[in-house]
Symmetry: D3
Subunit: 160 residues, 6 copies
């Protein structure tokens, strides 16, 4: 059973040393969703079709946040990601917007935190853009969907 790699022998927080790892292509896909009332959903959905502004702002915020991941997460290595993409799928039945982010790099460590950060900040931006309209929007299901590259190989989350 693997141990927490961020804690050294005496329990002190530490950054994993990746100096000796070989750079390989790393890809991570993360997902999440934000749920809202139907009137808010309609507003966002219609915008998506007509002007796309809420989602474009959220997309840009997600991409920019991914680039800031190592400033936000204390033990994350700074990484120059070579690609980050944020996509949205509005789901009318549940009045929610699904968010998916993919990050890529040829590097010494994984990029799942970058994808998860992009999803989280995209969701927060949707909240911020619509909060005057619906204060009870809820962000959920933020999770790693898939990851490849590095010693640990490919991971695909079993979705229920």
């Amino acid at each position: 059973m693997p141990e927490f790699t961020h804690l050294d022998k005496e329990g002190r927080v530490r950054m994993v040393d990746v100096s000796d790892k070989e750079p390989t292509l790393r890809v991570a896909i993360a997902g999440g969703m934000i749920s809202m009332n139907s009137a808010t959903f309609e507003k966002i959905h219609n915008q998506t079709v007509k002007k796309g502004n809420v989602l474009e702002a959220a997309r840009i915020a997600g991409v920019m946040a991914a680039k800031k991941t190592s400033e936000l997460i204390p033990m994350c290595h700074p990484l120059n990601i070579t690609h980050i993409q944020v996509d949205f799928s509005p789901d009318k039945e549940t009045n929610s917007v699904r968010i998916e982010a993919t990050s890529r790099i040829i590097g010494q460590t994984g990029v799942e935190m970058e994808a998860l950060t992009a999803v989280s900040v995209a969701a927060l931006t949707i909240y911020d853009m619509c909060k005057s309209y619906d204060r009870e929007m809820t962000i959920s299901d933020i999770r790693l969907i898939e990851k490849s590259g590095g010693k640990s190989g490919r991971f695909v989350r079993r979705e229920e």
Copy 2:
């Protein structure tokens, strides 16, 4: 029914002008949770009791992220919050950690995005600190719990 205040007449993204608002005491409380498998929960839980390192790192990351909110959320006003607090409640039955953040300011606009950002980044930090152990941790229930101050008055979320 209130309109999206971030969109001007022609649908362009815009920042709300708060220049003429009176500064009042603003408080916001946001919550969220991260769920994991039982072995991971035990690890975190024992740390909390013994050394608190994962949660202390997450707490510090949440506080520092709250101070960066306006760098992350495109239309958020820069604010000098006068207090931000992040608390954790491990729940053994569900193998999850509940996260709650409170932000305060005497200012011209609300601080809910600061509290929501603190919760989100605290959760992402827990994920990062434990990801070598459990890749399937899920962050959910990120939401505004309570908010007061300003023209719109006090809001308390109806929790199911």
Copy 3:
């Protein structure tokens, strides 16, 4: 004749001390433009009408950059601007996009650098979004158009 207020008697760079200034409403309007070939202009112009993406990205970048002004300009005071707005006027005759930014605050010092920074970064973002198409785009006419508030009173640039 006013002296350079950023240099002390011995020529050392210094920040102006505004501790004793009264907070007043400060407004600044800055302008600029980016010129391009006609094919690029058509692309941007059509986007504006149809999807607005290049300009929306530039608008968001300009707003976010205004919030970073004091990180970029060494002697600028950190300020919590209460409003920043970025607008675009495509001009078909000259194949250029005019950019205008307005910044507002009730504070102890002016916000012209915030407006000028918003214009500059909006222009750079337009360049970045279209550079694969036209490397010779040129940014020009970045200037303060109007400024009010503070001891020095209202300034309106004489436009030729």
Copy 4:
């Protein structure tokens, strides 16, 4: 005729994926200028000769801003530039200061945005340092002068 590479099929803003590009030496040179009244020019010019403070502050600001390019321009890749240089040529006849910035990297994508950002922020800093003296200074001619490296080969702007 090349298409806008920042827009995917449905017009959504996106970052170009450079994961598969080979790192090569990339060099970019950008230029710009700031014009002012003669009294202000004399002030700056004499400083340059005697103490160089306005221009040294602008130089440092330009270098530091180049390092922040990917934080400012939404779709720019984070890059660890290996060199950035900012130079000034005061031109007495036109009461203007010409600014030139060179950026270098061995990397997967070009560094023209870094050079353009350095020029822009250096110009804004000159404005800020002298604005109490001349509010009508104008920044213009911000453009890419030369670029090499990568698949698209060497570009040299035809200067009129």
Copy 5:
């Protein structure tokens, strides 16, 4: 005997809540020094007299770092300082440069961390600018010299 105000009852790191404090004029003065071999000192000293570049770079770095204090020190409140000044006194007898920084604000909490951060980063910048010449430079005596404003009144350090 006062308790550590950053630790709550259960030892968790926390930010002090200053929401209810009255804004008053806060001033802090911090000092420090960097010692070097005589050849390096001569180099810096002559630069100071002739061009001042090392010290000007350090001064600008110190001012800019003061503005970033709350990004660096986890529990520091974000503050819009209204003045920060960094001064140097080269001391030929000890081959050292003394650094002093003053910060000011009308605010709800003290600005000593801003002054101490300015001194620290100014010293690090001197080290960086000269490290190819003298790797053994040492930074020392970083301390609060004076502080006023707020409930705790005026503090002046007893210098030996």
Copy 6:
């Protein structure tokens, strides 16, 4: 005798061009200390043993600051460090805490500024966490202890 590599022939501040350097493993170790009165030392020391909070906050702050080095030190190259570690040794006899930081990268330039920045900000954080208790804490002995990699070979400081 080596020259200041950050200054060009005319005394202008410049960044060293490392584009043509080969990436090699770079390691740097820096040290420093913070001294205090005995009551404060006891407080910190007991925390270290029991909960470690002051030192854990300082450790996290040091790691995060190392990642920000090139934002703080004007002529530092941006680097993606692959490891940074911050350790503390409380010394009861002198009522001081010794701080040591190690940074590592495979890169084109050294990482001593990253280690020195980590030490400095860890020390400032200890000051901030305890300043309500002891305003006269002093930070000293910030220095490079060891450095290897690159053309200049291994350096080990002669400690007195």
